[in-house]
């Protein structure tokens, strides 16, 4: 029973991270209809910037995360301006290839700046706490709390503010949004900023329990794609729900099936879903 409880909590932690990454991905997909393969690279940059801010500059963990969110958010905006904006009318195959180009560049850049070694991020919250009879590190509790908080804030922003509503409007109908006077350029940039920021939060939160290295985004981004297909491309609740579903199935699968093949679960899940329903679960309209 205790193993199960422990694994469920693990699932909650991993699921929170996945949800945050998938949220960024789904927002961008909703607005621009591009699968941003470079999102994993943004995640990786987020981890490294927090790492640098803490070890080199020596600021506090939270301040480091804040800097990381701003920098990676701006990186996202830059990416939109330089790469995706000129390609907005190109055939869909071009966006994907351009995104892969950006991904390769950012990974090589990280390796050039920080080296290929695995780095561990120090955390001020390493102590062990007892939570409802489970022994967990404070960092894991923090991941869940911070991730949920970020999701609530994002939801409030999208639902309650005018700017947030314009993002929703644009994801519903790009031409319509343009017609009623929404500046689609600004909204696209803002979306990339939020998306990058979410990736940075996710990476900074998970880095202390995982490690920071140039390829850290690979698996996470692949799984995030699985999640947004699971939850419907462009759907925000779907991304959150899908993230937790994947988190739980992975942590339980690792314990009860095979630890070696736990990373395969997500992909097998995806293959099954797309086999049964080629447009993904909960697909909206023509997409």
């Amino acid at each position: 029973m205790e193993v199960l409880g422990q694994q469920l909590f693990n699932g909650l932690t991993i699921g929170s991270i996945y949800s945050l990454v998938a949220l960024g991905l789904t927002l961008v997909y909703g607005i621009l209809h591009i699968p941003n393969f470079a999102h994993g690279a943004l995640y990786m940059m987020g981890g490294y910037i927090t790492f640098t801010m803490m070890t080199v500059v020596g600021v506090h963990y939270w301040l480091a995360i804040f800097v990381s969110v701003v920098v990676v958010g701006l990186l996202g905006v830059l990416m939109e301006r330089i790469v995706f904006h000129p390609l907005r009318d190109a055939p869909p195959i071009h966006d994907k290839i351009a995104a892969i180009g950006v991904l390769l560049f950012l990974e090589a850049l990280a390796q050039w700046i920080w080296g290929a070694d695995y780095q561990s991020l120090p955390t001020p919250y390493g102590q062990v706490v007892n939570l409802f009879g489970l022994t967990v590190t404070l960092q894991r509790v923090l991941i869940v709390v911070a991730a949920v908080l970020a999701m609530i804030l994002l939801n409030l922003f999208l639902k309650k503010t005018f700017t947030g509503a314009s993002i929703i409007a644009m994801s519903q109908n790009r031409e319509g949004a343009h017609l009623v006077g929404i500046n689609t350029n600004k909204v696209a940039m803002l979306t990339f900023m939020i998306s990058g920021g979410l990736a940075a939060i996710a990476a900074s939160l998970s880095a202390p329990i995982n490690l920071v290295f140039p390829g850290m985004g690979h698996l996470v981004i692949l799984k995030a794609f699985v999640i947004i297909i699971l939850g419907g491309m462009g759907s925000i609740p779907g991304a959150i729900l899908g993230g937790y579903i994947l988190g739980f199935s992975e942590s339980l699968g690792a314990t009860y099936l095979s630890n070696d093949y736990k990373d395969i679960i997500a992909f097998v899940l995806l293959v099954i879903i797309l086999t049964v329903k080629p447009t993904g679960l909960f697909a909206r309209g023509g997409h």
Binding site: P86, G101, V102, A108, A116, L222
Partner: protein
Amino acid sequence: MSVLLNRRTVVTGLILFAVLFPFVTRNDYVIHIMTLSFIWMIGVYGLNLLAGYTGYLSLAHAGFFAVGAYSLGLLTVEAGVNFWLALILACLFTGILGFLIGMIALRTREHFFAIYTLCVGYIIYLVIYKWDGLTGGVRGLIGIPAPSNIGPISFTSSISQYFLVLFFLLLTIFFIYRIVHSLTGRTFMAIRNSEDLALTLGISTMKNKLVSFVLSTIFAGLAGALYAGFVRFIGPDIGYITITFDLLIYLLIGGIGTMSGPIVGTLLIVWLSQYLQFLQDYRMLVFGPLLAFLIIFYPWGIVGIFQQWKQKRQARKARSIHQEENRKDEVELDAGVSADQEQVREG
């Protein structure tokens, strides 16, 4: 007619150059790199058929490359099968796997297809990596035999291996050329340009997409099998996504959806990588932005730039001829009009 003659001489010249190349350089290292780039070209041609001509971007190609390589490696090392039989079986096996995956994968479109194949590629990589008992896991497969002799011809020297791979490359190019310029090829392009329209015209898109997918995986498998026989050692890394990205870079820089793109792109990037060896793992600092830049400004690659330039030149020539004719017409017309006027005045 002159265009045809022109193309024929270019192709003959290139083949002649490729045949004479090892005797000219006599440098084993250069021949080694050249052979390797020929192997990549075979894989890139496979990818080109699917992504360039049919419009489906598959990101599982390194997986199929690895399947081909491992099939050959396991058949020759573990089962002791003759190299040539193993080569055929490896291609066949990759093709069958491609058929099964394609049946499901091709039900999806555009982004879903790219993501689906990305995941399939990753599953193949993970299986090779984790299935210690069969594939040797991280340690890889060692001691794959070189191609066995055919009669008096042996394939132990680097020059003979070079010719073997060149033979398969030429076969691949010939095959792809015939497909692309056949009705099947036109059908692929119709699907690329608009799948719905192709469907409306009565084209069985699923069947044609599947043919394209299976062929392209067979070429990937062939390239993988040749790679295994040439390098004689394979590890799970050859199935990783980076290899797919490498193939994609070769294809895009050369020119996606063009006949000569894979040759141009592969040769250029492989040799550029040799000169940029001081960059090592950082070469993507150059190639990553280059990829994004090309797709924004020159989506059809170097070959595309060349073709555009040729077309422009032809158009200009045609226009100047046209203008000259127009001018002549105008002069005649003017002359006619003035003659009429004179007649009127006289009358």
